[in-house]
Structures are given as structure tokens and as C-alpha cells.
């Protein structure tokens, strides 16, 4: 037995694949019963399985396929006409063969299941002739030993006359009947007609079976080769002959790596192939008529991904048949064709694979979703009302969300779409839904081509390097102490201002517990990371220009160069780091860079979770509270004299730190030079009408709140910036205090809001500092 093991495994794999083909052929046969080609193909497969089972001594399988072959032979010869009952019985046979194969695979033997009743049904269907145009029924050729003695009783034992919906039940152990007659035929001589059908697949298969482990090790070895090549390149300098050889090795290695990567790809067909049968069974059990259309089955995906989208897609297909497509009568009443159309489509799109599951059914009741979302507290009623329909639809991916009025055995228990979403996101994909009432629903799944090799951005943070999957990177922004992008609200929730949005930022060094590279956070690079529907800035590489001062102009000019130094784009091979470290939740793996260094791959989702960013509502377009700060946000500062004042945040152009000796006197103006322009410096206390306090300005840098960026702008000198915070009360207008437009509560304290028009006169202010 164990000597045969290898052959048996080969047989199992081949037979299982061929059964999938049988499923498809049966479907084709149902559509065009007159087409003999699918029938011949089914016959071949069943015959091959029968032959092999005899060879390996699987008697149950032999008996079952023998009966099946008999029925198929009668069909082919036109002795039996195709009917729902015939195909139903054949489907049951395919299922039974599958479960026997599975049992053999798992246990090495056929298992306890009894298939004699099914065999009898096959035989019964074969002898039965509902049209009566074959009068010679009693002598059924060479198989009279099986069919003849029992034809009457067998028909009774067979499934009822409308069996299609219940055929799957036949595989459960039936009470034993007619034990002897059917169990033996496997050893009976094979009749002649089959010989014609013996040849296997028409064309020679150009592929071979390779163990996935072997492919993985090839990929690992190629990775090693790439490293060795890089080393070689670094030592080959000088010798032209050697350099030429190294160059060729370089080219070959690159090509080899690409080829090795391709070996892991598999057409999505491997998932799609199961669906014709799934859809057929579902349609039968749900009482639907469904026409399945498959496009782009040759679209390739990494093998591991193909496996992992199988369940989510199956779920979507079930949903479409059960909830999407209406019953035939309802469709007719609505003026649609009786048969619903379910379309599966896969295609490549911008480095990802998109898979659409589209039905022309009833569509999703947007109002029901809206109501449910409000009822479940996912969104408040007013917001829900203002959300566009396509936004509302996405709520169906929330946990426990189901609008199905009717719970069926197939779907509709309120679980599912959230699991689909979770599973898709787990492999770095996204899913969204669009639907039109009465027209249909489309669910769009986007997944990366591969998980093993991804483009990534390598960032530097202090002495460490990290890789960030490029799919999560929105853009790179350079922080600049003067004029450019700055981090605000350092003492509270730090944000950057980006095209009118306030984006929360995370300091990678702080998050990872690395030594902080900059206290003031005015240099470095912000990587805008998008994960799910959230967005945040990841601050990396603060090492350059660590000094906070406004000096080192030269360093600033080369911001692009600095960016390249801080971060570089590369393609990485993702390697697991083992359960121990993976469960830290911060790293998605590790990779080996060209220089041989091991680099951790940051998990954007994990970083988002670990940094406790404020929750962001799914819809950034909605008028609901924006993710980070409400519109009425204020920059709260303390003046040199100690007054707590607030400036509307949308008026603040930037924050700046200058040293006192950088402030130049020009006439009666105090100016800070910034590039070609000058910033007017306003003594805030003085502008508020306070007499100069005589409090010496702190030795440290002076904080400027720069209001108008044109021509250098106007900078309000303050002692320190306290926070960025939302207004907690309405503005209470102030009539008396000069330079103050009113008072409101910010950060739990009464705070005066500066009247900017008053404190920043167009004419230069008098000398502010004593």
C-alpha cells in the first residue's frame, strides 16, 4: 500500500481536478443537452476514475463509477434522455466520488459511507425511459446482471420524482438494500464501447506539478543570489572584464528573480471554477434561476492569495444568489428576464487585481441600511440623512449588520459581510459595494497581486531602517522649520495641515521607544499613511538638522535630496518573523535589503492601532465632525506677559521659532528675515494694550505665530504655544478689551480670542520690544 502512496496521491489530485471539469461539463450539458462533447468528456473522466480505482483496489469507488459510467453510456447512445432527474443523480455521483476521494486522502481508505443506494439510483435512471421511445428496455446489454433483476424495486428506492433539490441527501448512509448485485461490478469486464473514449486530454499538458515548498525554496535561493550579486558588484570595481561578467550576472539574476516570482502565480480560475456548481446548487435550493458569466478567469494572483479569497468570494456569490437575485416570478413581474445574471469578473488594475461580483437583482435597500445604521448607533440620524447613498451602503460591512428580512439556510444570519471585509483586509485588500434599487448590486474586491513581494518604502528613523508597504503610502512630505510644512499642536494631539485638512501624526521614534531624534519636531519627513479609511502622518528621520534654530540654510535647500536619503523605494521580499514577534502587532514581517541588512516591515494597520489615533468617521466628506479637529479650532498660546490667548487655527499659516538675535530692527519695525522676505514681528502683549511688562524675553527661541504667509507675513510673538484645541463654547463678544474679539472656553479654560484685524495693522507696529 505504502509503495502505491505516491501513485495514489497523483491519482487523487488528478481525479479531483477532473471532477471540477465534470461539474462544468454537467452544467454545459444541462444547457445544451444535444451537445455530445461534454458528455464524452464526463464519460472519459468517470471511466478513468473507475479504471484507477480498480487498479488501487477501491471497490466502493469502482462500483459507484461503474454505475455512473453505465448511465453515461446510455445517455451517449441516446437510450436515455437527459432530464433534471438524470443530471441530479449525476451530480450526486460526483459529490459521492469527491467524498470518497477525500476519505482516501485523509485516511487512506474509502471510509464507512455506503453508496449502494446511489448506485442503484444511477442504474435505475439508466433503465428508466420516460419517453418510452426505447421499447427494448428489458435487455440492457452487458449490464443486465445489475439492472435487470431489480429494475422495478430499484426505481422505488431511487429518489422521488422531483429530486433535484434534495439530491445531495443521497450521500448519507441509506438503509442497505440489494447488497450483492451492485457491489461486485467493478471486477466485471469492461465493455467495448468505452475504448473509443479512452484517450485522455486532447492536447499534451505543457505543465508539470511542482511542490509549493520547492518553489518557495527556489525563491529563497534567488534572494540569496541577489545578495551575493550585490556583494560582488561592490568588490568588482576596476577590472573591466570582471565588471562585464558582474553586469551579466546582475541582469540574469534580476530576470531569474522575476521568473521565480512568477512561479508562484496562479490564475484565479482555480477559485472561479468552483462557482458554476456552487451557483447551480444555490439556485436550486433558493428557487432561483441564475445565469453565471465569468470573465477574466486567467487573471493571475499569488497562490496563497488565491486560496485566501476563496471563502470571501464564495460568500459574496451566495449573497448574490440568495439576496440579490429575485425569484423568477418576481423578476417577471418586474419586467426582467426570469433568469438572473450573476457576473464574476477579474482584471488587473493599477498593480492590483480587482474582482467584481455583480448581480442584476433587486439591489440593496439603501433606506433600510440607513435606518439600520442609525438604529445600531453607527451614525446619528442627521448625519445619516446627509450621507450619499453609496456611503451608506458601505455600512453593510459593519459587524453584525444585515438587512435581510428573511433568514435563510444559505445566508442572512447577520454575519458575513464584515467577515468578508476582515478577510479581504487581512490580505491587504479592500472591498466596497455599489447598488441600484431594482437594477442590481456590485461588490468590488481589490487585492494585491502577491503578498510575498511588494514594493516598499524604506524609511530611516534614527539609526534604524524600516520598510513600509507602498500600498499604504499616500505621499511624502518634508518638514521644514521655516515656511514649509510643520507639525502643530505638539503638546496635545500633533497634526499637520495638508491642503485644508488636519492630519494626525505619529512619531515613529516615540512609538517604537527609540531615542527621540528631535525635541521640536521641525525637521524630518512625514510619510502620509493611508490604511482602511484612515489617514495619518508617520514622522521619520529627524536626525538631519537636529538643531532647532533657523540656521543652516544650506541644509534646508536640499529638501529633495534629504527626502531621498531618508526614504528610498525598493521591492522587498516579505519574510515572516515568527509568531513571537509578529504578535507585537507592529511588524508585518522582515526583509533583507540589497546591502544584506535585515529590515523590519512596519504594519500600517498595527501602527495605527498602537498609536491610539482619534477615531475617524468613515466619511470624510460628511458634515459630521471631522476626524481630528472641528472647524472651530484654536491655537492656544501664552503671551510673554502670561496671558492666555487663542488664534483661530485656520488663520495660522505656520509656527516658527526664532532666536532673539535674529530679530532685526528696520526703522520702527521688527523683522525676521526668512529667505528673501521679512516677517513682521508683533509684540502680542503690546497689541493687546498692555504696557510693556518689562518681563525679559526668555533666552530660548521666540515663538512666532505667523498669520499671513504673503511677503513673509506677520508673526505674533508669544512665549509658548500651548495647544491646538476645539472651542467648547460660543464666542462671547468682548466690547472693552482692545485687540480681543471675545472670550470662549478652550481646553477647559476661558481664553481670549485675538482680534487679528486689530492686532496686526497694515501699518508697521511700533517697536515692540524693550
Amino acid at each position: 500500500m505504502s509503495d502505491n502512496r505516491e501513485f495514489i496521491e497523483e491519482f487523487l489530485v488528478e481525479a479531483t481536478e477532473n471532477l471540477d471539469q465534470v461539474d462544468r461539463d454537467l452544467l454545459a450539458l444541462e444547457e445544451r443537452p444535444e451537445d455530445l462533447q461534454p458528455l464524452a468528456s464526463i464519460f472519459r473522466t468517470v471511466h478513468t476514475i473507475k479504471g484507477n480505482s480498480g487498479f488501487f483496489g477501491f471497490s466502493k469507488l469502482g462500483a459507484l463509477t461503474h454505475s455512473g459510467e453505465h448511465l453515461l453510456g446510455r445517455l451517449r447512445d441516446g437510450k436515455v434522455r437527459l432530464s433534471g432527474r438524470v443530471t441530479g443523480t449525476l451530480y450526486s455521483m460526483v459529490d459521492a466520488v469527491r467524498s470518497i476521494l477525500q476519505a482516501i486522502e485523509e485516511t487512506g481508505v474509502e471510509g464507512e459511507q455506503d453508496y449502494r443506494e446511489l448506485s442503484q439510483s444511477l442504474v435505475a435512471v439508466a433503465v428508466e425511459d420516460p419517453t418510452g421511445d426505447e421499447p427494448s428496455r428489458p435487455t440492457a446489454g452487458p449490464r443486465s446482471d445489475v439492472a435487470e433483476p431489480s429494475s422495478a424495486s430499484v426505481v422505488e428506492a431511487a429518489p422521488p420524482a422531483v429530486p433535484v433539490a434534495s439530491v445531495t441527501a443521497v450521500t448519507t448512509p441509506p438503509p442497505a438494500a440489494l447488497p450483492a448485485a451492485v457491489a461486485t461490478p467493478a471486477t466485471a469486464p469492461v465493455p467495448a464501447p468505452i475504448d473509443a473514449a479512452r484517450p485522455g486530454p486532447a492536447a499534451v499538458d505543457p505543465s508539470i506539478r511542482v511542490d509549493v515548498g520547492l518553489l518557495a525554496s527556489i525563491l529563497d535561493l534567488v534572494g540569496e543570489l541577489v545578495l551575493a550579486r550585490n556583494e560582488l558588484r561592490s568588490v568588482a570595481g576596476g577590472d573591466p572584464a570582471l565588471e562585464g561578467a558582474v553586469h551579466r550576472i546582475h541582469a540574469v539574476t534580476t530576470a531569474l528573480q522575476e521568473a521565480a516570482v512568477k512561479t508562484r502565480m496562479q490564475p484565479i480560475e482555480h477559485v472561479f471554477n468552483k462557482f458554476p456548481r456552487t451557483v447551480r446548487d444555490l439556485a436550486v435550493s433558493c428557487g432561483r434561476e441564475v445565469q453565471l458569466v465569468i470573465d477574466g478567469a486567467d487573471t493571475e494572483l499569488d497562490r496563497t492569495l488565491v486560496e485566501r479569497i476563496r471563502d470571501p468570494l464564495t460568500h459574496l456569490v451566495r449573497n448574490a444568489v440568495d439576496h440579490g437575485i429575485e425569484a423568477p416570478e418576481i423578476r417577471e413581474a418586474a419586467g426582467k428576464p426570469r433568469a438572473g445574471r450573476l457576473r464574476l469578473r477579474a482584471f488587473n488594475e493599477s498593480g492590483q487585481v480587482t474582482i467584481e461580483v455583480q448581480d442584476d437583482g433587486a439591489g440593496i435597500a439603501v433606506e433600510a441600511v440607513r435606518a439600520k445604521a442609525v438604529a445600531r448607533g453607527l451614525v446619528d440620524a442627521a448625519t445619516a440623512e446627509s450621507l450619499p447613498d453609496d456611503r451608506v451602503l458601505q455600512f453593510i460591512f459593519e459587524p453584525g449588520f444585515s438587512t435581510a428580512a428573511q433568514v435563510t439556510s444559505v445566508s442572512g444570519r447577520g454575519v458575513g459581510m464584515d467577515v468578508v471585509k476582515t478577510n479581504i483586509e487581512a490580505i491587504g485588500g479592500t472591498v466596497d459595494v455599489s447598488s441600484a434599487r431594482g437594477v442590481g448590486t456590485t461588490v468590488r474586491v481589490r487585492v494585491p497581486l502577491t503578498l510575498a513581494i511588494v514594493p516598499a518604502l524604506v524609511v530611516r528613523c534614527g539609526a534604524e531602517r524600516f520598510a513600509l508597504p507602498l500600498a499604504a503610502v499616500g505621499e511624502l512630505l518634508s518638514l521644514r522649520p521655516e515656511g514649509g510644512l510643520q507639525i502643530e499642536g505638539l503638546s496635545g494631539a500633533p497634526v499637520i495641515r495638508l491642503r485644508g485638512r488636519l492630519v494626525p501624526v505619529v512619531f515613529l521614534d516615540a512609538l517604537l521607544g527609540l531615542p527621540p531624534v528631535s525635541a521640536t519636531r521641525d525637521t524630518g519627513t512625514v510619510v502620509l499613511v493611508r490604511v482602511d479609511d484612515h489617514e495619518f502622518g508617520l514622522v521619520v528621520d529627524g536626525t538631519h538638522g537636529g538643531a532647532e534654530s533657523a540656521e543652516s540654510e544650506a541644509g534646508r535647500s536640499g529638501s529633495r535630496a534629504r527626502l531621498t536619503e531618508a526614504a528610498s523605494l525598493t521591492t522587498i521580499v516579505v519574510k515572516p518573523i515568527g509568531g513571537l514577534l509578529a504578535q507585537l502587532g507592529l511588524y508585518g514581517g522582515a526583509t533583507v535589503l540589497g546591502d544584506g541588512g535585515v529590515v523590519l516591515i512596519l504594519d500600517p494597520r498595527g501602527i495605527r492601532g498602537a498609536s491610539h489615533l482619534p477615531p475617524v468617521v468613515r466619511d470624510s466628506d460628511a458634515p459630521s465632525p471631522p476626524p481630528t479637529l472641528p472647524a472651530e479650532s484654536y491655537l492656544v498660546c501664552q503671551t510673554v506677559a502670561g496671558r492666555r490667548v487663542a488664534v483661530p487655527l485656520d488663520r495660522v499659516a505656520r509656527l516658527e521659532k526664532v532666536t532673539l538675535d535674529a530679530v532685526q530692527q528696520a526703522g520702527d519695525r521688527r523683522l525676521v528675515r526668512r529667505g528673501d522676505a521679512f516677517t513682521d514681528v508683533v509684540d502680542t502683549d503690546r497689541a493687546l494694550g498692555l504696557p510693556p511688562t518689562g518681563v525679559p524675553v526668555a533666552d530660548g527661541p521666540l515663538n512666532l505665530v505667523v498669520l499671513d504667509d504673503r511677503c513673509g507675513g506677520v508673526g505674533l510673538a508669544v512665549r509658548r504655544v500651548i495647544d491646538v484645541a476645539a472651542a467648547e463654547s460660543a464666542l462671547q463678544p468682548s466690547l472693552s478689551a482692545p485687540g480681543v474679539s471675545g472670550t470662549l472656553a478652550v481646553g477647559g479654560l476661558a481664553t481670549e480670542v485675538l482680534d487679528l484685524a486689530a492686532v496686526t495693522p497694515a501699518v508697521p507696529v511700533p517697536p515692540p520690544f524693550q
Binding site: D220, E464, A610
Partner: protein, 170 residues
């Protein structure tokens, strides 16, 4: 999964199994030889921020990325030397590199002669030493790879908790 070859040496005696001995500090420890994948002299170590304290980083081992466990820290010994040898072990599907001071012999450990515990310094279910064996020349503390991994996982949980507490300040 892995077929263990039964050779006369290891299975002949009642319950003796081969163990690889090594020094950490001035104490002698051993792991089952069947768990040992290989021994590596030097390796460039990449730090893993937020990892358990004893996990000092990752090394690249022929296509595999392997966490490095500093055994001095892990066993609660004084952290002294910097001269290090990587003893790479397999546990379940994961590999770990134990950073030890010096590799010693391979010995046969008779199960019946393993005393419950010979190290007073550490106690408890995560104590990676499962017993002590009087070897030919010295006492050998027998390490259980499973317990090593368990102890690391526990340290990771602690580190994650500290990590959580840390966030408020940034």
C-alpha cells in the same frame, strides 16, 4: 512532520537523548540536539523595537529571518560578554537563535538522572530550565525549548502592556 532517525546511540539506553551543551556566563546549559538547526559564529543583528527584552534582534539565516534571544538576559544572568555564538534551534514552525557564550560538547542525557531543578535563581512555570543533570565534568541545566518560547511570549505581553501605558504622553 519530521521523521526522526533512530540510531543506536541515542535510543539504545533506556531514555537517553543527545543534548548540545553550551556556556552562558559560567554556567552550563543544554538543549536537545534534535532541536538544533545550526550554529553560527557571527551575524549582523537588527534591533526589534518593542520586542521582549531578551529578544535583541533578528538575524538573516539563509533566507530565513530568525529572532535572536540573548540567553544571558533570558536566564536572568549578568549581562557581561559581547563575544557571541548563535545556536539556532527549531521549535514548532519557528526558528530561534540563542545567543550563547561558547559551544561545548554533545552529551547523552539520561532522563532518569535529571534532577527537578538545580537553579535556585529562577522559579515558576516559565522557568526555561526543566531540570539539572550531572554531566561527565559539570552540572548541566537542561533547557526546554517550549518553555523558552513560553517565557518570551509572556515577556512580550508585559512589554505590550508597558507599551500601551506609554502612549498617553505622545
Amino acid at each position: 512532520m519530521m521523521r526522526v532517525r533512530t540510531d543506536a546511540g541515542s535510543m539504545g539506553a533506556a531514555a537517553a537523548s543527545r543534548h548540545c551543551c553550551f556556556l552562558v556566563g559560567d554556567e552550563c546549559f543544554a538543549v536537545p540536539a534534535e532541536a538544533v538547526a545550526e550554529v553560527l559564529r557571527d551575524g549582523r543583528i537588527t534591533r526589534v523595537p518593542r520586542a521582549p527584552e531578551a529578544v535583541i534582534g533578528l538575524v538573516h539565516l539563509r533566507g530565513r529571518i530568525v529572532p535572536v534571544v540573548d540567553m544571558q538576559r533570558h536566564l536572568g544572568l549578568a549581562v557581561t560578554t559581547t563575544a557571541r555564538t548563535h545556536l539556532v534551534i527549531r521549535f514548532q514552525d519557528d526558528w530561534y537563535s540563542l545567543l550563547v557564550d561558547e559551544m561545548l560538547d554533545v552529551i547523552d542525557v539520561e532522563e532518569g538522572r535529571v534532577e527537578p531543578c538545580g537553579r535556585a535563581s529562577v522559579e515558576g512555570p516559565e522557568e526555561p530550565v526543566r531540570g539539572t543533570f550531572a554531566g561527565p565534568t559539570r552540572l548541566v541545566h537542561i533547557l526546554d525549548p517550549h518553555r523558552i518560547v513560553l517565557a518570551l511570549a509572556r515577556q512580550r505581553e508585559q512589554s505590550l502592556q508597558r507599551h500601551g501605558a506609554f502612549h498617553g504622553s505622545v
